[in-house]
C-alpha cells in the first residue's frame, strides 16, 4: 500500500446512494444518486422507497464513480461502508453491496459510523488546509440527525455531547413546510420564504431550554446540550389554526421566519455552550441543513463571539455522500485499525463511540 491509501466509500443510510473514492485526503470522486425526487409527493423520506432506489442505483453509481476517478477496483486498497446509524433497510443495501465488493475483490472492508464520517469529510477538499485542527467539535444538522460531537481523534476518540431527543432539525423543517404548504424538502423552502418575514413576529418555543433541563455548568441538567423539535411543529400548527379560526390571512413569511429563528437559535446557542464547556475551539458544521443561510449566519456570529472558529465544508460534502465514508475509512486505515471483516451487521442506532466496527472473528 502506498503511504496514502486509496479507499472507496459507500453510503446508503438515507436517501442518497453515494460512492466516493479518496487517496488519503485527496478527493478523487464524490458520486451520488439521490432518490429525493421520489419522496417529494410524500413530504418526507419513505424508507421503503429509499431502499428500492438504493438497489437500483448501486452498481450504476459504483461504475460512474470508478470512471470519474479513473481508477480500477484492483487498485483500491480498502473499502469503507456506512454500517449505521440510519434507516435499517437502506443500510442493508449498502452493507450487502460492500460485502459483495469485498468478496469479489478480496479487499479489506471497514464498517464505519455515518456521523463520524460527516466529520471525516473535513480532511478533504482543503476544508482544513492544515489538517484537522485540535480541540475540534462538530455540529451535524440534517433531515436524519442533529448532534454535537467532541472529536479527540477521528479514528479513536469521538464523543456525543448532545443530540435531538425526537425529530431531527431537518425533519422539523419538512413537517413545518407541509403545514405551511411550502413543499419538500422543507429546509430550502422555509429559508426562501423566511427572507421576507419577521423572525420576531411570533415567539416559538426553544425546546429543552428550561433550567430543569439545562442545569448549570457544574451541575448539568439531563438535557443541557440536547434538542427537541416536536413541540415546535405543534406550536406552528397551533398558530396556523388560530389565524384560520380568526379568519385572518396566514402570515406565512412571518411564521416561516419565526420558526426558522427558533430552530437556529436553539441549535446554535446549545452548540456554542457545549463547545465552551468542553474546550472546543474549532467547530465543523455538517449535514444537509448546514447549507441553510440563517443557520450559517447565526452559527458564524455566535462562534465568533465565543472565540470558536467555524468551518463549513462545501455543500456537496455536507449532504450524505460516499466521499465522507471513504475519507473516514482512509483515516481509520492510517490509524492502523483492523478491518471489520464481512460478518458484521447493520446498526440503525450505532453510537458515535463506535467509529469502526471490530471484526467479530478477531476480537
Amino acid at each position: 500500500m502506498s503511504a496514502q491509501p486509496l479507499v472507496l466509500g459507500i453510503e446508503s443510510s438515507c436517501d442518497e446512494t453515494g460512492v466516493g473514492i479518496v487517496r488519503g485526503t485527496e478527493l478523487l470522486t464524490n458520486t451520488v444518486s439521490s432518490s429525493m425526487d421520489e419522496h417529494v409527493r410524500f413530504g418526507g423520506v419513505i424508507p421503503e422507497i429509499a431502499s428500492r432506489a438504493h438497489l437500483e442505483a448501486f452498481v450504476p453509481t459504483l461504475r460512474a464513480a470508478l470512471d470519474d476517478a479513473g481508477v480500477t477496483l484492483g487498485e483500491i486498497d480498502a473499502i469503507a461502508v456506512t454500517a449505521g446509524p440510519g434507516l435499517s433497510g437502506a443500510l442493508m443495501v449498502g452493507v450487502s453491496a460492500a460485502k459483495a465488493l469485498a468478496v469479489a475483490t478480496g479487499k479489506p472492508l471497514y464498517a464505519i459510523n455515518h456521523l463520524v464520517a460527516h466529520v471525516g469529510v473535513g480532511v478533504l477538499g482543503g476544508t482544513f488546509p492544515e489538517g484537522l485542527p485540535p480541540n475540534l467539535g462538530a455540529l451535524l444538522v440534517s433531515g436524519g440527525h442533529t448532534e454535537i460531537l467532541r472529536v479527540g481523534d477521528l479514528a479513536h476518540d469521538v464523543e456525543l455531547l448532545g443530540s435531538t431527543i425526537d425529530d431531527a432539525a431537518g425533519e422539523a423543517y419538512d413537517k413545518t413546510a407541509r403545514i405551511l404548504g411550502l413543499g419538500y424538502p422543507g429546509g430550502p423552502a422555509i429559508d426562501r420564504v423566511a427572507r421576507d418575514g419577521d423572525p420576531r413576529a411570533i415567539r416559538y418555543p426553544r425546546g429543552l431550554s428550561q433550567p430543569k433541563y439545562m442545569g448549570t455548568a457544574g451541575e448539568p441538567g439531563p438535557h443541557r446540550y440536547d434538542w427537541s423539535f416536536s413541540g415546535l411543529k405543534t406550536a406552528v400548527a397551533r398558530s396556523v389554526e388560530q389565524h384560520e379560526a380568526a379568519g385572518l390571512e396566514l402570515p406565512v413569511a412571518d411564521i416561516a421566519a419565526s420558526f426558522q429563528e427558533a430552530v437556529v437559535d436553539v441549535i446554535t446557542s446549545k452548540a456554542v455552550l457545549a463547545c465552551r464547556e468542553h474546550g472546543i475551539t474549532n467547530l465543523l458544521l455538517g449535514g444537509g441543513v448546514a447549507a441553510n443561510r440563517r443557520l450559517r449566519e447565526l452559527a458564524a456570529e455566535r462562534c465568533g463571539a465565543a472565540g470558536i472558529t467555524l468551518t463549513v465544508p462545501a455543500p456537496s460534502l455536507c449532504t450524505d455522500n460516499g466521499a465522507m465514508v471513504a475519507a473516514l475509512g482512509a483515516q481509520i486505515v492510517l490509524g492502523g485499525r483492523r478491518p471489520s471483516g464481512i460478518t458484521f451487521g447493520t446498526d440503525p442506532s450505532l453510537p458515535v463511540t463506535s467509529i469502526a466496527l471490530p471484526d467479530r472473528n478477531h476480537q
Binding site: G43, R52, H54, L62
Partner: protein, 230 residues
C-alpha cells in the same frame, strides 16, 4: 456449466453447481440475517471449491417474490459480484425453485397442476400455479411450466383443492391442501440454480434481476390538511 446461485426470498441460501452436481451449499437458519451471512457464505463456498469468480459461467439470483429487505440483500450482492467478476447474471423467480424441487422429488404427479406458496407475512402468501412436466427428469421434460402468477394474497383466496408446495401449507393448513413433504419448504439456491440450468438447456428465457415486490411501498401521499394540528 458452473453456476453460483443465491436466493434470499425467505432464508439466505447459496449454492455452487457444476452441471447438476452440488459442489457447495449454504442455508441460513433464519430469514432476517441476510446482510450478515450471505457474503461470508459465498466466500466460503468458493474457497472450499477452489473456484474464483472468473471461473463461473453465470450467477443466478432469486428475484422473489419475498420480504423486501432480504430480497434486496441478495439482489445487490448478485449484481455487484456480476459487475466485478464480469460474469453473466440471470434472474429466476424464486417460486420456480420450489416448483422444480417438488417435481424432481416426485412430490407432485407428472403432468399435474399444482400451486407453490410461500410466506408473505401480514397474513398473506406469495403464490403461483404450475404444471409439472411429463417426466421427473428436468433434462428431458424441462422445468415446470408457470401457468399463473406470481401473486400475493390471503391463503383463502387461492384456487381451492389444488395441491400446494411450500411453507404456506404449514402456515395456513385449513386454507390449502399441502403436499406433506414440502409443507415447510422455502425456495433454495440449489433448486434455483437447477431451474436456471434447466431453462438454459431448454432454450427458455431467463429473467433480469428486477425484484418482484408485488406490493407497493405502503407510502401514503398526505391528504389535504384539514386541521393544522391533525
Amino acid at each position: 456449466m458452473l453456476l453460483l446461485a443465491l436466493d434470499t426470498s425467505a432464508a439466505a441460501t447459496v449454492a455452487l453447481l457444476a452441471d447438476d452436481t452440488v459442489v457447495g451449499r449454504f442455508s441460513s437458519g433464519d430469514t432476517r440475517s441476510h446482510a450478515e451471512v450471505l457474503a461470508p457464505a459465498i466466500r466460503q463456498i468458493l474457497a472450499d471449491a477452489g473456484v474464483t469468480g472468473a471461473d463461473l459461467d453465470a450467477i443466478v439470483a432469486g428475484v422473489g417474490p419475498g420480504p423486501f429487505t432480504g430480497l434486496r440483500a441478495g439482489l445487490v450482492t448478485a449484481r455487484t459480484l456480476s459487475f466485478v467478476w464480469d460474469v453473466p447474471l440471470h434472474g429466476v423467480m424464486s417460486l420456480d425453485a420450489l416448483a422444480l424441487a417438488a417435481v424432481a422429488a416426485g412430490a407432485v404427479d407428472a403432468g399435474s397442476t399444482f400451486l407453490v406458496g410461500t410466506d408473505a407475512r401480514r397474513g398473506e402468501v406469495y403464490w403461483a400455479s404450475y404444471r409439472a412436466g411429463g417426466s421427473q427428469d428436468m433434462d428431458v421434460a424441462g422445468p415446470p411450466e408457470l401457468l399463473d402468477g406470481p401473486h400475493v394474497g390471503a391463503a383463502g383466496t387461492l384456487p381451492p383443492g389444488v395441491p400446494l408446495v411450500g411453507r404456506a401449507a404449514s402456515l395456513y393448513p385449513s386454507d390449502v391442501v399441502g403436499v406433506p413433504a414440502f409443507a415447510a419448504a422455502d425456495p433454495d439456491a440449489v433448486s434455483l440454480g437447477r431451474a436456471a440450468r434447466s431453462r438454459i438447456l431448454s432454450d427458455l428465457p431467463l429473467l433480469d434481476t428486477t425484484p418482484l415486490y408485488l406490493r407497493e411501498s405502503d407510502a401514503r401521499v398526505p391528504g389535504p390538511r384539514k386541521r393544522a394540528t391533525a
